[in-house]
Symmetry: C2
Subunit: 390 residues, 2 copies
């Protein structure tokens, strides 16, 4: 059900001929009434046209609908690309009877080519006609590129729901697998409160996720709140606590599905770091391990080459004392006092074969902690990325 699990939303996914083969590739999510809306966007210096447009539109705090196309990222397309995105927003606004500033646009696919704004314009009436209260799963399918399958979630709050879906086949953000995430809720949340909660509960999850360390031109997280449940979220009230927890639960579920569904990935890497000088330092350390090519290939090979964990966590600018470093792999200590210690090779090999490979590092006595999500890297990643446009 993904984005249509909460009440107040309809969605659709149709084949608009934007990708090769027969598959849905144009997705629309519409709120019955303009919803409170918040967006997080890529920090790449060359954001795609739909990012430029949506960043401006979402600043108004309200959105009627989100239109997503797969096939082309509409990045590296200059002024024409922006005109294409604007035309799509205007057409959608006309069909849905709202100002075009209430339309948010996302694109995902190859960087460089323009989108077929004409095909999108012609297909939009059909997509709007197909909007349905249980269209969430079709929406979740229509936003995919090289993803193995849709990634959906529903989390239950006290009297409301949070629903969502995500696409991202290879990472946080190569050009072929830009990460797009959509979360909806029927809780009633003012835009400013929604913004603060998303920054608190959602941003850290998607910012500790790495597949290949590449931040795309299109990365976008959009969160819409319809208010249809009647449950009001206000700073400090019980609903706020429940809302933040449900949002985080939904985001973490999507994050795990994303790394497990990454191009060529077989295993999720979950790297918990504690005792760092700050949460930000812990985040940096967890990503240094989760994103290390040497760790990723060792996990792919099921090779307990634990010296690489020490190398990787030392490879940031965070000041650390070797004497304080303790690392566990799958619950078994493998590094203590900065030294690779004797450990059960069979047990560590078994831990590397789990669907989730758990690495826990204590780096000192600070209060900072973070959990990073990554995945292994094998031959299939190379095959997919060596042969993408050709």
């Amino acid at each position: 059900m993904s984005v249509t699990a909460p009440s107040g939303f309809q969605a659709a996914g149709i084949d608009a001929g934007l990708t090769s083969g027969t598959r849905p590739d144009l997705a629309v999510l519409a709120a019955e009434h303009p919803a409170a809306a918040v967006g997080l966007f890529t920090r790449n210096a060359f954001p795609a046209a739909p990012v430029l447009l949506s960043r401006r539109h979402v600043a108004g705090g309200r959105a009627k609908a989100v239109v997503v196309n797969a096939g082309q990222a509409n990045a590296g397309t200059g002024a024409e690309g922006l005109a294409d995105a604007t035309a799509t927003a205007e057409e959608a606004a006309a069909r849905l009877g709202c100002p075009s500033e209430q339309i948010l646009i996302c694109s995902t696919g190859v960087i460089g080519p323009r989108v077929s704004a004409d095909r999108i314009r012609k297909a939009l009436p059909r997509a709007v006609a197909a909007l349905s209260g249980d269209g969430g799963s079709l929406f979740a399918r229509a936003i995919l590129t090289t993803d193995a399958g849709p990634k959906e979630t529903v989390a239950e709050g006290e009297g409301f729901l949070v629903g969502g879906c995500v696409k991202g086949a290879g990472m946080i953000a190569p050009d072929l697998a830009t990460m797009l995430a959509f979360l909806t809720t029927d809780a009633a949340v003012e835009p400013a409160v929604l913004d603060a909660t998303v920054r608190q509960a959602v941003a850290p999850v998607f910012n500790t996720l790495t597949v290949d360390g590449c931040t795309s031109t299109n990365d976008t997280v959009l969160v819409l709140a319809s208010g249809s449940s009647g449950v009001r979220v206000e700073p400090g009230n019980p609903a706020a606590v429940s809302f933040e927890a449900a949002l985080r639960e939904a985001a973490e579920d999507l994050a795990k599905q994303l790394v497990l569904g990454a191009e060529g990935a077989n295993r999720a890497l979950v790297v918990q770091v504690e005792g760092a000088p700050s949460d930000e330092a812990a985040r940096e350390l967890s990503l240094a391990v989760a994103g290390s090519l040497l760790v990723k290939t060792a996990v792919f090979g099921g090779d307990p080459n634990v010296g690489r964990l020490l190398q990787a966590i030392g490879d940031t600018s965070v000041p650390l004392d070797p004497d304080d470093l303790e690392i566990e792999l799958g619950g078994q200590p493998v590094i203590a006092g900065g030294r690779v210690i004797g450990f059960d090779q069979d047990a560590s090999r078994a831990a590397l074969k789990e669907r989730e490979v758990l690495i826990r590092a204590r780096v000192g006595t600070g209060a900072g902690s973070a959990t990073g999500f990554g995945c292994d890297l094998g031959y299939e990643y190379v095959r997919l990325n060596a042969e993408y446009t050709t």
Copy 2:
């Protein structure tokens, strides 16, 4: 000839049983008279024991000899590891008749296991007896791990020579392919002048080199000057100009050999960045492209997916204006004004098949420039790194 091309040096490489199979794995470089010496070391937070020792010893400005073992990195080995390195330095000092502070130590191999200090101690007399004025090539072979072959260089200055060799099979610095570089010269240079010249001419070359973005626990560059040629290098004199040029030439030659010899690599990526706000910003941008997994796999696949160049160069914190971005691939413009433009696909495919793939980016009107060196990434990299210790 590598490190013994300049006069005043002898070298040897012998089989001390530190690696499996029959191959030289213990290398010694000795100066006739204590040489001016400078070192650059890894910034990893968990430096190997030999790094801790050599950093302290080289601070004295003079070195009699360098002892290198392959097989074990002597990193993640705690106090015992430091004792092992110290014992090796003391044994070498006794054999060569110098204070142990004039001995520099390097280790390369797997992180975690201790070196066999006992085997090294027993083999050192044999290595010292084997020292010879043309032992440079044996030295260059004895420092290798998974390298495909030795990487040596000689550059000619006005009245003196610079010789060198490097090891590093996979990168700047995974745990199996720590980068070690050794440069010698028979120019006469005081330690302080040598230090300044090395930081000016050598450090930037090795700092714009990436294979997998992993900085090892053992990376070391050692530069020794014997003075045997009688040519005095002093700040501002003609010999200083010639010396800096020869040092840079030798370092760049070794850098290119290193990326071309990287694990599983078929091609060198040479990324020239101009118009950046500063040289440091240009360095960061060149490494973002040379180190991008998506660029590396596209080059491996011979796939002119040029949108990835735009994505990669945007993926740093350097502020850039899309309108200013121009990129050439193999001399052909592919991105102009921040847009992927029409280009000759066949020509770009051919450019991607060259031994050196040249990417040139102009990012603005600043004075900063840099050249980054990288390589492609294919199946063989994954195979080597998934199966290293097992």
